[in-house]
């Protein structure tokens, strides 16, 4: 059996865990190879985060394209895939967003058997609270849109919320809890594992994952992309995809583009590990606060942007204070939990708050960016749709509205209805 169990080509299973446990765990192999870059590929994907890795995987799985390199300037999953609050949901309203996130949630639901990797996807349910009659109407409408899309939504009244979340402060008068929109299939997943799972699955299909390889230039000749310059040499490619949310503007500038993106920092926090106490994902829109509890026990929570352009991956104290106040307003029971650490993710903010998956003016060059706050849950469908675009030349039907030129043409996807301007989302 020894031969059969060697190398990264062997699946993970309960039997395998038992077998390796019995022989001192000496048989585990690295989950992916560490190849040197070859001089030429059919497709080069810039960015080894969730979206880049899932794009590579679905190019191989759905379209049979395996001569692919994923170039990552740091280590795989070192960017925003490891800097988010791990929430997975499909509670969007607008045509264009609704079917895309619905498709993504369906991919999440089969992801672990698809990748043969435990991404700890936990459909614990997500509850968005509302605090006025007007907000109830808006959430009822959103819930109906979710049902019409084929997903799930339940409008809870105040007592319904109280049965599920008895620990909320139902007596506070500033934002009295009128009810909540319950999305039972929403939940969380283990963020790093999503990157690792896609990486391993892509590697097993022959994709080269090249770490510590920073792209320093994009070679364009006669309006067509020819390859990339990197810190590990020149790599030629027929097609190149920029999948680098958080640094999209810098990479796009190498291709002479100015994107409709402004980068902002979004902070998040985690407490020390506690016994299970928060069973769902709860979001408190009026206070800009949302929370869930990780399987390790830490309360993971976050708030709103710091609201100034930043690449610092850390925020300022006023927003820390604001988030803590909002948390204490909603659920005073967490007041004695100690915050273990905080961090900031760099968000590609687009003017209308929705993402971009599209071609660029350069032939063979594609862009996937502008994920705002919504990148993590989009990882499967984003890769699925970008792979479709690269392989077929046509946008995937569920991502057809994520166009780069929609700000010029006015075909906006403004989910919040606040307008198409950089400081409004």
């Amino acid at each position: 059996m020894g031969k059969a169990f060697q190398g990264a080509n062997v699946g993970y299973s309960g039997f395998r865990v038992l077998w390796e446990g019995l022989r001192g765990n000496r048989g585990w192999q690295p989950a992916w190879r560490k190849p040197d870059p070859r001089p030429e590929y059919d497709v080069v994907i810039i960015g080894g985060g969730g979206h880049g890795l899932s794009t590579a995987y679905y190019l191989a799985r759905n379209h049979g394209i395996t001569n692919i390199a994923v170039l990552e300037k740091g280590y795989l999953g070192s960017g925003n895939i490891g800097r988010n609050t791990t929430i997975v949901r499909a509670n969007y309203f607008l045509p264009g967003n609704s079917e895309f996130y619905s498709h993504s949630l369906k991919l999440w639901e089969g992801l672990e058997s698809e990748l043969n990797y435990n991404v700890m996807h936990s459909q614990r349910g997500l509850i968005n609270l509302f605090h006025s009659d007007g907000q109830r109407d808006a959430f009822a409408r959103r819930g109906n849109a979710m049902l019409a899309q084929g997903d799930d939504a339940v409008l809870l009244d105040r007592e319904g919320v109280r049965r599920m979340l008895p620990y909320l402060d139902f007596e506070q008068t500033r934002f009295p809890i009128y009810g909540g929109l319950y999305h039972p299939r929403g939940g969380t997943a283990r963020h790093d594992a999503v990157a690792w799972g896609y990486a391993r699955a892509a590697d097993r299909r022959g994709v080269d994952l090249i770490e510590n390889c920073e792209v320093t230039g994009i070679d364009i000749l006669d309006g067509r992309v020819r390859g990339v310059q990197t810190t590990r040499g020149v790599i030629r490619a027929k097609q190149v995809a920029m999948v680098v949310a958080g640094r999209s503007s810098q990479v796009a500038a190498m291709a002479g583009m100015r994107l409709p993106i402004e980068s902002h920092v979004l902070q998040a926090f985690v407490t020390e590990g506690l016994k299970p106490c928060i069973d769902h994902v709860v979001s408190f829109g009026m206070g800009h606060f949302y929370i869930s509890q990780s399987d390790k026990g830490g309360l993971v929570f976050g708030g709103d942007l710091d609201f100034y352009a930043s690449y610092a991956a850390r925020g300022n104290l006023p927003m820390v204070e604001h988030v803590m106040e909002a948390g204490m307003t909603l659920m005073p029971m967490i007041g004695r939990a100690r915050v273990l650490r905080s961090w900031g993710g760099i968000m590609d903010m687009s003017p209308d708050g929705s993402p971009i998956i599209d071609r660029t003016p350069t032939e063979g060059l594609f862009v996937n960016c502008g994920w705002n706050y919504g990148g993590f849950k989009a990882v499967p469908a984003s890769g699925w749709c970008l792979a479709h675009l690269i392989a077929t030349g046509q946008p995937h039907p569920v991502a057809a509205r994520f166009r780069l030129d929609r700000f010029a043409t006015g075909h906006l996807l403004d989910e919040e209805g606040t307008g198409s301007q950089h400081n409004l989302h």
Partner: protein
């Protein structure tokens, strides 16, 4: 973070509202081509490093162009929009 208001001196960040990149100061002519308006409203250099952006100081009502580093949050200068404070 504290921000130097040309009118009031060094003040807490919470007194200020961020508006966006200083690109907003270069407004195209009304009859400029649509591409110029798209660039003005939406497309940004979005630098990782030194940038110029617009802030409003709520207490005194000053619009300020801030020179800032987006990687470190260090502020290297502030001028009132449109000249003298």
């Amino acid at each position: 973070m504290r921000i130097p208001c040309p009118c009031c001196g060094l003040r807490d960040r919470r007194e200020f509202t961020y508006y966006g990149a200083a690109d907003y100061l270069d407004r195209p002519e009304a009859d400029a081509p649509a591409q110029a308006w798209d660039d003005y409203l939406h497309n940004r250099a979005n630098p990782a490093g030194l940038t110029r952006d617009l802030w409003y100081h709520d207490p005194c009502g000053s619009w300020i162009t801030l020179r800032r580093d987006t990687l470190t949050h260090a502020i290297s200068g502030a001028e009132p929009v449109g000249g003298a404070a």
